[in-house]
């Protein structure tokens, strides 16, 4: 009697589990491709902010290379670099870099570098800077971060890679110097990294 009841309960739940999971699995099956496509598109949209779609013709989302951890990229983990090519020739590389010394911690950046070492663009992907002060680095909030476009280690002497207060060329955000300072340094380091490893990145 007891065990029969137990079995019944188990069976009942089991049936519902089978039915429920069945439906979920069917849904998953039908949506899988859409979802993968969505994820790819979201990634591309981010990358295309830095590089116009017409500048490349390869599948940048899959044309990647793993680079080992490097202090120049601010990360202790190996990172992924996306490679853009046009007609098979390298156009640019996009780095996931981290500025470790933001006001409230790490600032995750996406930095696009053309093969010639000039900047395609910089975006702050994830950060915890103070709303109203440090968050001016988001494109949504201000144009500040667009100021990097086109800069390179060649067209700007190394000492000028700093915020204006420190004698450089980059504006600071009103009331928040630390955040820009951190980003400027991170970008500069990423360019240095590219300088040293350009060959490895494009094989």
């Amino acid at each position: 009697m007891n065990s029969r009841q137990i079995l019944l309960s188990g069976l009942f739940l089991w049936i519902f589990a089978v039915l429920g999971t069945g439906f979920v699995a069917i849904t998953e099956d039908t949506t899988r491709e859409l979802i993968v496509e969505n994820e790819r598109r979201a990634l591309l949209r981010n990358l295309h902010q830095l590089l116009p779609a017409e500048a490349l013709d390869n599948d940048i989302a899959t044309d990647t290379v793993e680079v080992p951890a490097s202090t120049l990229l601010g990360s202790q983990q190996p990172g992924t670099v996306y490679r853009a090519r046009l007609n098979g020739k390298p156009v640019a590389a996009i780095f996931n870099s981290i500025a470790p010394n933001g006001y409230s911690g790490k600032i995750h950046l996406l930095i696009g570098v053309y093969v010639d070492g000039s900047l395609a663009g910089v975006r702050a992907v994830k950060h915890q800077e103070t709303p109203g002060l440090g968050d001016g680095i988001e494109v949504r909030k201000s144009d500040w971060i667009l100021g990097f476009n086109g800069k390179s280690l060649d067209n700007l002497s190394r000492s000028k890679w700093a915020v204006k207060r420190d004698g450089g060329v980059f504006d600071q955000l009103t009331g928040a110097t630390i955040t820009p300072r951190a980003i400027v340094q991170a970008v500069k380091k990423t360019l240095l990294y590219y300088d040293q490893n350009a060959a490895k990145i494009f094989d």
Partner: protein, 224 residues
């Protein structure tokens, strides 16, 4: 038997999930920094409520009592997962914004509460209506709270409408005053609590006025 208007009234007002039962607070406070986020999650929750209420009501006749709760949980989890998959497929950007709070609809106590308290005792039609009304009540609060916080915090309304309705909807965004610097408190965590408190107070005040009014109208015939 509960009448349809009673179900409507209780879902939208007298037993409003958010204002009265104080359930589903996590998404309520976490995702309401803008109207669009609020509505997005509200819709997902509403769909879950309708579907789970309907299913539970359908099977209410033959569920064994000792596995009733697990079966309900299972059903709700499946519904939510399906919705999650659908959102990923069709509203991917909105899904990214709402993030973890979509799967967390499973633990929204309001849903299991309705399954237990209403759907398992009522016919399908009433249960579905109850799910709809409860969900709508929740949705409205999410939207209003989102609107409040968005206006005060950013000075905009319907920002990011494109997340839900596609790029064309970007035009929906209303910027109330371009010079408005924003009152950040409203969009930060404390603002969420304050905002909900304000909504509850407004509801209390309305109730109070209703009581006063009904007392006044009660005493009227005696006076004349």
């Amino acid at each position: 038997m509960t009448t349809n208007s009673e179900i409507t009234g209780s879902g939208l007002w007298t037993s409003n999930v958010a204002l009265v039962q104080l359930l589903g607070l996590c998404p309520l406070l976490a995702v309401t920094s803008t109207v669009v986020n609020g509505v997005g999650l509200g819709l997902a929750t509403m769909v879950t409520l309708i579907v789970s209420n309907t299913l539970v009501s359908l099977i209410r006749g033959f569920v064994r009592s000792e596995v009733r709760l697990p079966v309900f949980v299972l059903i709700i989890a499946c519904v939510v997962t399906i919705i999650e998959l659908a959102m990923k497929a069709f509203f991917y950007d909105l899904y990214l914004v709402l993030g973890i709070f979509i799967p967390l609809i499973v633990t929204n106590c309001a849903i299991i509460g309705r399954a237990e308290g209403f759907a398992s005792k009522n016919p399908v039609g009433a249960s579905a209506l109850d799910g709809f009304m409860m969900g709508l009540g929740f949705l409205i609060v999410l939207a209003v709270l989102g609107g409040m916080r968005e206006i005060i915090g950013f000075g905009t309304l319907f920002a990011n409408a494109n997340l839900m309705f596609g790029e064309a909807a970007s035009a929906l965004t209303i910027v109330l005053n371009a010079d408005y610097g924003g009152f950040l408190l409203a969009v930060l965590p404390p603002g969420a609590f304050f905002g909900l408190a304000i909504l509850i107070v407004i509801k209390n005040l309305i109730e109070e006025r209703k009581v006063v009014a009904s007392v006044a109208s009660d005493s009227l015939p005696e006076a004349t």
